[in-house]
């Protein structure tokens, strides 16, 4: 099997597990009802390591499954995650990821980007996503939460061979 395809399949499985954890176990450690977005952190890590193609396809597939599982309209999360996977994949090989600072920056930027994108999509399609109605409060908790968790999660994901950097960006 092609290495990219193997990575995509593995990533989608990991992302779905993260999504399930977010809706169950992580609700116990929510701050004011806000949980870290593990799935997005895994997605940006994989995209940075394996490039745009793996990032956007994995993001799309996992987002589509997420849309099937919850109240969001079909296409909502698949669109957000495909775009984030693509943009972070563009940085692959161009940014040095140190163990501490870069994961925080990448996570903070991705969360804000998710907030902006979801706000635009919600406004365009009239979707009632209460979380980022005013772009205040909850999103900044998620920004902080994701930023704190990112270095540890990236260090953990570094241990898995399937997510190792591609020698040359495919596609």
């Amino acid at each position: 099997m092609n290495r990219d395809l193997r990575t995509i399949i593995t990533t989608v499985i990991v992302l779905v597990v993260c999504i399930l954890l977010q809706s169950t176990l992580l609700t116990k450690i929510a701050i004011r009802g806000v949980r870290p977005d593990l799935a997005m952190l895994v997605l940006i890590f994989v995209s940075m390591r394996r490039g745009s193609m793996v990032g956007q396809v994995s993001g799309f597939a996992s987002g589509f499954l997420e849309d099937l599982m919850n109240v969001s309209p079909l296409g909502f999360h698949s669109l957000l995650r495909a775009v984030i996977g693509f943009l972070y994949g563009m940085l692959s090989g161009n940014v040095f990821i140190d163990p501490f600072l870069m994961p925080i920056i990448l996570a903070v930027v991705a969360t804000i980007l998710k907030g902006i994108l979801s706000g635009i999509v919600s406004a365009l399609f009239g979707i009632a996503a209460s979380g980022f109605i005013t772009f205040t409060g909850r999103i900044w908790i998620e920004v902080g939460y994701n930023g704190v968790i990112a270095p540890f999660l990236f260090a953990l994901l570094n241990l898995f061979r399937v997510f190792k950097q591609a020698d040359k960006e495919s596609g």
């Binding site: 999504i19 399930l20 954890l21 977010q22 809706s23 169950t24 176990l25 609700t27 929510a30 004011r32 009802g33 806000v34 949980r35 977005d37 799935a39 490039g51 745009s52 193609m53 956007q56 396809v57 799309f60 987002g63 589509f64 499954l65 997420e66 849309d67 099937l68 599982m69 919850n70 109240v71 969001s72 309209p73 079909l74 296409g75 909502f76 999360h77 698949s78 669109l79 495909a82 775009v83 693509f86 994949g89 979801s118 999509v121 919600s122 399609f125 009239g126 979707i127 009632a128 996503a129 209460s130 979380g131 980022f132 109605i133 409060g137 909850r138 999103i139 998620e142 596609g171």
Partner: protein, 291 residues
């Protein structure tokens, strides 16, 4: 021409793939927002619910095992307290029987319709929304157990029953509940003491306050902090008299003809575990219509 297309695609493979994925997502959004897509959501809900049940069960098992020792100690204390409470309740039951007899006689005289729900379905909250963008709760009962879209949802915390929200969508074995704190959840309510009416809606945060609007300014001197807000029963979705919250703040904006009340919900949503779905006594097929 095909050669030109192939060379363009090979040069811009990543960009073309992104464009394709974005297009698929947008088409899905357009279709599902007009509620054309029903089956995939139902399938997704039931499959997702299955895994969420599994995850919740798995983690609960670990938590329960670890906590069982402490629980045993707590259970002894609870047993002693329960015995004492039982004695009190015996006394209260006797008093209630007398009150019920009086109430039945008065209702018969006034020809009141029976508005309290007779039956309820109990369910467990097995998951929250997967993302912080939305605020639904997933419960472990679905259409197979008689759950229907639009059913009112209540819960008990301590000794008080409070309104949780309504059923938003139903799968075969699990359902999504729209909680009271979601801005889309609007409840016709009234101040219990003064009977002034208004509409209560959420502000998007499970630990935040609700907001009650359209209460006439003339009522400002009569209502006070801590007053109970209950459902009014208007609109027919939520039964009359269910506790919604207590007034925490009263403001009278100069630009508005009505008061704006900040309401602290009765239910603490972040520690919500078990809920009840209300089946109206008068309707065999309840609450199809949503407000």
């Amino acid at each position: 021409m095909p050669g030109l297309f192939e060379s363009f695609f090979s040069r811009h493979r990543k960009g073309a793939t992104l464009a394709g994925l974005v297009l698929v997502s947008l088409v899905c959004l357009l279709i599902s927002n007009r509620t054309i897509v029903v089956k995939p959501k139902e399938i997704g809900l039931s499959v997702g619910g299955f895994f969420q049940k599994g995850f919740t069960g798995f983690f609960n098992w670990f938590g329960d095992t670890a906590g069982s020792i402490g629980q045993l100690r707590a259970a002894r204390e609870e047993l002693a307290a329960a015995k004492e409470r039982l004695q009190q309740m015996d006394q209260e039951t006797r008093e209630n029987l007398e009150l019920k007899r009086q109430n039945a006689a008065l209702q018969a005289q006034l020809d009141f319709a029976q508005t309290l729900p007779a039956e309820r379905i109990s369910a467990e909250v097995i998951a929250r929304d997967t993302d912080n963008l939305f605020s639904t709760l997933t419960i472990n009962k679905g259409s197979r157990q008689g759950v229907k879209k639009g059913m009112p949802v209540v819960a008990w915390q301590g000794d008080i029953e409070g309104l949780v929200g309504k059923v938003l969508s139903v799968g075969p074995g699990s359902s999504e509940v729209l909680p009271l704190y979601d801005p889309q959840c609007i409840v016709s309510s009234r101040v219990d003491t003064t009977r002034d009416e208004g509409l209560v809606s959420g502000q998007g945060q499970d630990r935040g306050t609700l907001v009650m609007r359209y209460v006439k300014k003339i009522a400002k001197d009569k209502i006070s902090y801590g007053d109970l807000i209950v459902s009014s029963g208007l609109g027919g979705l939520y039964p009359k008299g269910i506790n919604v919250g207590r007034i925490r703040e009263i403001s009278a904006p100069a630009y508005d003809t009505s008061l704006v009340l900040q309401v602290q919900p009765i239910i603490s949503f972040e520690r919500l575990e078990y809920i009840f779905l209300l089946l109206p006594a008068s309707a065999a097929t309840p609450a199809e219509a949503t407000p």
